[in-house]
């Protein structure tokens, strides 16, 4: 892969191929090919630059030191993790969902200069939080939302194995150490929450993230519509 900042050093035919990929929206990065190659293991991603407004996808650039690499062409939102060693980003094209709003979550690792899909869901991804449990396991707490009811949905992702837990129509009410507490709301209450009103969950349930990480990987399939 040829990053934008490297184009000026390449031949005209190579430049043409690179421009074809860039302007035709073809992403040559998704199969694990190098995107920010040549970085030392001590370097960190300091900043992201996304051309998306969160609804319409756009290119995502990562800033490493003085240089900027083009990570993907069709990104919606992105988050820096692990002190700049990794980036997760959402893209359209999940597992279908209401009006095909489902999205995928990709994990990019700077040290190996590779990326992979770690979640493909029915919903839009609105937030990602990386946590390390007391047992030393890494987990991603992924907040999602649907565009019909407006409910929140919570997934737990094992960065190595993918999505291992999902709870629909629930939101995080607290996290203390490894204990994640979700709140559940009645359907009509999601509209009140959407308007910014305060609503107490009718039920809460606590989960140990270490236990959730032992779950089987979840593969969502688009349902017939």
């Amino acid at each position: 892969m040829i990053a934008i900042h490297e184009i000026r050093r390449t031949s005209i035919p190579t430049m043409g191929i690179a421009l074809f990929f860039i302007f035709c929206g073809v992403n040559p990065l998704v199969h694990g090919r190098a995107v920010c190659a040549g970085k030392s293991s001590s370097q960190r991603i300091s900043r992201l630059r996304a051309e998306s407004d969160g609804i319409t996808p756009g290119a995502l650039f990562v800033v490493i030191g003085e240089t900027e690499c083009r990570l993907s062409e069709i990104v919606l939102k992105a988050w820096i993790l692990s002190g700049g060693k990794q980036v997760v980003f959402s893209t359209p094209g999940g597992a279908g969902g209401y009006e095909n709003e489902g999205q995928s979550l990709h994990l990019y690792d700077l040290a190996s200069d590779s990326q992979r899909v770690v979640l493909s869901e029915y919903f839009a991804i609105t937030g990602v939080l990386a946590v390390r449990t007391h047992a030393g396991q890494d987990a991603l707490i992924v907040e999602m939302r649907d565009g019909g009811l407006g409910a929140s949905h919570i997934a737990i992702v094992d960065p190595n194995r993918g999505e291992v837990f999902v709870e629909q129509k629930a939101r995080v009410v607290s996290r203390k150490g490894d204990i994640l507490t979700l709140g559940y709301f009645h359907d009509e209450e999601w509209e009140l929450l959407a308007r910014g009103e305060t609503v107490r969950p009718y039920r809460t349930k606590s989960y140990n993230i270490n236990v959730l990480l032992k779950g089987k990987p979840i593969v969502r399939e688009p349902g017939p519509q």
Partner: protein, 187 residues
């Protein structure tokens, strides 16, 4: 799980839809406006690969059992027929901020990538005119799903132009209810 509100699952020509709506009473729930959507999936080019009745059953399973919602949108407007899904006199589920106060009308297609089908547009305008007339709603209150600040995606796609839809809806409403006034006439 939320109690499922049921579906009508019947299809109508635009004229028959007008007659059908005239039989519906709005004594328990009355919407304030219509929110316009497109299905994205299925695309219009895929819609007829499955019989309409099967589509309705699939959609019912999808909204009830996969999404675990209490209802779905109210109408699915295709290029041939208007399908009533959620009963028009109960609130549906289709747009986060407006479910309790609006009808949800899905136009079949993905109008971010498909050309806005003239037949779908014609049937949608007719259905909207019938709905607006039924409860006396101003066409200017029409909203697109993507105008809901809590939605997550670009719906309907860019090929649906709100001003154009409102203009055609206003025209259709005038034809539906021309009134007694004869322009320029005298009694």
């Amino acid at each position: 799980m939320a109690k499922w509100k049921g579906i009508i699952g019947q299809s109508f020509s635009p004229g028959d839809f007008h007659s059908y709506v005239s039989t519906v009473t709005f004594d328990t729930w009355r919407p304030q406006f219509v929110v316009l959507h497109n299905t994205a999936v299925p695309k219009l080019s895929d819609w007829h690969s499955v019989p309409g009745e099967t589509r309705m059953r699939n959609l019912e399973n999808y909204y009830r059992d996969v999404q675990r919602w209490s209802a779905g949108p109210h109408l699915f407007v295709a290029d041939d027929l208007i399908w009533v899904f959620t009963p028009l006199n109960v609130s549906g589920v289709h747009s986060p901020s407006w479910n309790s106060i609006s009808w949800g009308v899905e136009m079949v297609g993905d109008y971010q990538v498909e050309t806005f089908s003239p037949a779908v547009k014609r049937n949608a305008v007719s259905a909207l005119a019938t709905l607006h007339a039924a409860v006396g709603v101003d066409p200017l209150t029409l909203k697109l799903h993507k105008e809901d600040p809590r939605t997550t995606h670009n719906c309907p796609g860019k090929n649906v132009v709100k001003a154009d839809m409102i203009a055609q809806l206003t025209e259709a409403l005038a034809l539906l209810h021309p009134g007694d006034h004869i322009p320029g006439g005298m009694i």
